[in-house]
Structure formats: structure tokens, C-alpha cells
Symmetry: C2
Subunit: 141 residues, 2 copies
DNA sequence: TATTGTTATACTCTATAACTATA
DNA sequence: TATAGTTATAGAGTATAACAATA
């Protein structure tokens, strides 16, 4: 009988935590945490989106988007821009500094990858990336 | 230039969280959370260990082991047994009910796997398991 | 009245520090 | 005095609920 440690669910869950801890350390120097990076990512990879839209995409509470955005504004990484036609809405937009910050976080993630994937050859790294992407897509909706 | 989402670190971190959420739901009916399952796993897969040893293996605070163990004792899943030669030490031992609970959690994890790996064929599932195991080993120490 | 964003509050998780008992 | 375990306390992270502004 296979044990719980043999399952993808258990391995992905525990390993995800270990890797996330390293990522936290890797980006801490830039004054951000994984949630901030995730927000930067979705801002970067979509048409200008309101805070509520971003909350839905990230599956986090709207009030948390406010806090994360406040912090990123303070860092100069994003700007809030009111919708002229519906003044309730505020779009979050990356600044040049925000793009540089995101690039720095990507570089930090690649440094973590060096450690995480130290035991894998290039082909295995690509295989793993592909398989994780497939799983992500499965869980996407 | 590769973005942060292309890295293993970012994917493993975010995906780990999503999968962990599903695992939490899957075992909630048994009255346990992932930390309890992790404690059951290490108790099951080692010589009788003191609470402090278990804390070190799980990389969690000794005080947390106390809380988790209290809960598992209340569920009847483990028993505390004092070391006769050093009455400060308490070994945590699985009961039969604990073994059944662990088996139920493994079954729950396999149900989560059905969802997580729905987009992968059997060969890909094995590949992913193997690659994750390799990465786990790399990060083990 | 409904929706967007914000603020206030509460809850969960977990660690650190203080304490007890045994050595 | 040092160690295993326990209890008390505090901090981080995040959600829910109450509120403000606009539609």
C-alpha cells in the first residue's frame, strides 16, 4: 500500500512550503513577500485591472489587495489610477521601478532554482517545469 | 528573459499552496490538519522518538509538537510513553486507531492526486513523483 | 440600492519566552 | 546547571465585517 508521502498532493504541499521559505528569504532584501510578487505578476500580465479583479484572480480578499498595493505604492513599484468613467475603480499599473523590481524577483527565483534543482540535469529541469505547468493548468479554473 | 513564473521556485511555491488547500479540505473530516499528518508520518517512519526529536525532524518548535500531540492523543491516534530511564522524555507511539487514521489520510491524498494529476498520464505521474522526490532529497539536510 | 475600495476587527498558525520536572 | 516538556504570550498573515464613496 502506498503511503501518504508517496502522493503528489503530500509531496507538492510539503515541498512547496520548503521552497516558499527559500523564496521568501531570496526576495526579502527587496522589501517584498511572495504575495507582493504575485500581485506584481498579475498586474504585469494583464490589461489594466481594478483591485477587485486582481483579488479575484489571486483568490485573495479585496482588503488584502489594498494592503499589498499600499506597500507596493510606497515602494514606488505601482501607481493607482482612477477610472475616469467610473470613479470607484482604481487600476493598478506597474512603474518602471516596478518592472525592475519584478525582474529582480525573477533573478532571485532563478537563484533559488539553482539550489532547488541542484540534483537535476537540464533535461530533468525542463521536464519538471513542464509537468508543473500542466498541473497548474489543470488546477487553474 | 524568463519571467518569475517560469521558475521552479515560483511554481512550486504557488502550486504547493493550491494543492495544500485541497489536502486540508480532504483530511478536515478526520479532524486533522497537514501538520498533524506530518507528525503522524514521522512517528510512523522511525524508531520511537521523543517530542524534541520529532520537533527537530519536522523543523517546528517543540511547543508546537506538544499541541499537535495533545490533539492526536485526544483523537486516540497516538499515546505518550515515558522513558523509564529518563523520566523527562516522552515517546510518541502510534495506536491502531492512529494507523487507521494515517491510512485514511493517505487515501484522502490519493483522492486529491486524482484531481491534481488529472491532466497527466500514468508515466507522467511517475516522472513527476520521481522528480519531486529528487528535489526533496536535495533540500533534505 | 449595488459596487469599489478602505478600515476595523478577529481568527489561525506558529514561534519565543517563561516555567516545571527531572537529570 | 542542563534538558525535556509544557504553558503563556506575542507576532505575522489573512479573512470577515463595518464603513465610505460613487454609481
Amino acid at each position: 500500500m502506498t503511503g501518504v508521502t508517496d502522493t503528489l498532493a503530500y509531496r507538492l504541499g510539503t515541498l512547496g512550503g520548503r521552497v516558499a521559505d527559500r523564496f521568501i528569504q531570496a526576495v526579502a532584501g527587496y522589501g517584498v513577500k511572495p504575495r507582493h510578487v504575485a500581485l506584481l505578476v498579475v498586474i504585469d500580465s494583464s490589461r489594466p485591472a481594478s483591485q477587485l479583479e486582481l483579488a479575484r484572480r489571486l483568490r485573495i480578499a479585496p482588503s488584502l489587495v489594498v494592503q499589498l498595493a499600499d506597500h507596493l505604492v510606497a515602494l514606488g513599484a505601482i501607481e493607482r489610477s482612477r477610472d475616469a468613467r467610473d470613479r470607484r475603480r482604481q487600476y493598478l499599473l506597474l512603474t518602471d521601478a516596478g518592472r525592475r523590481l519584478l525582474a529582480a524577483c525573477a533573478a532571485a527565483a532563478r537563484r533559488v532554482d539553482e539550489e532547488v534543482a541542484a540534483g537535476l540535469d537540464d533535461g530533468q529541469r525542463d521536464d519538471l517545469r513542464l509537468l508543473l505547468a500542466k498541473v497548474s493548468d489543470t488546477l487553474a479554473p
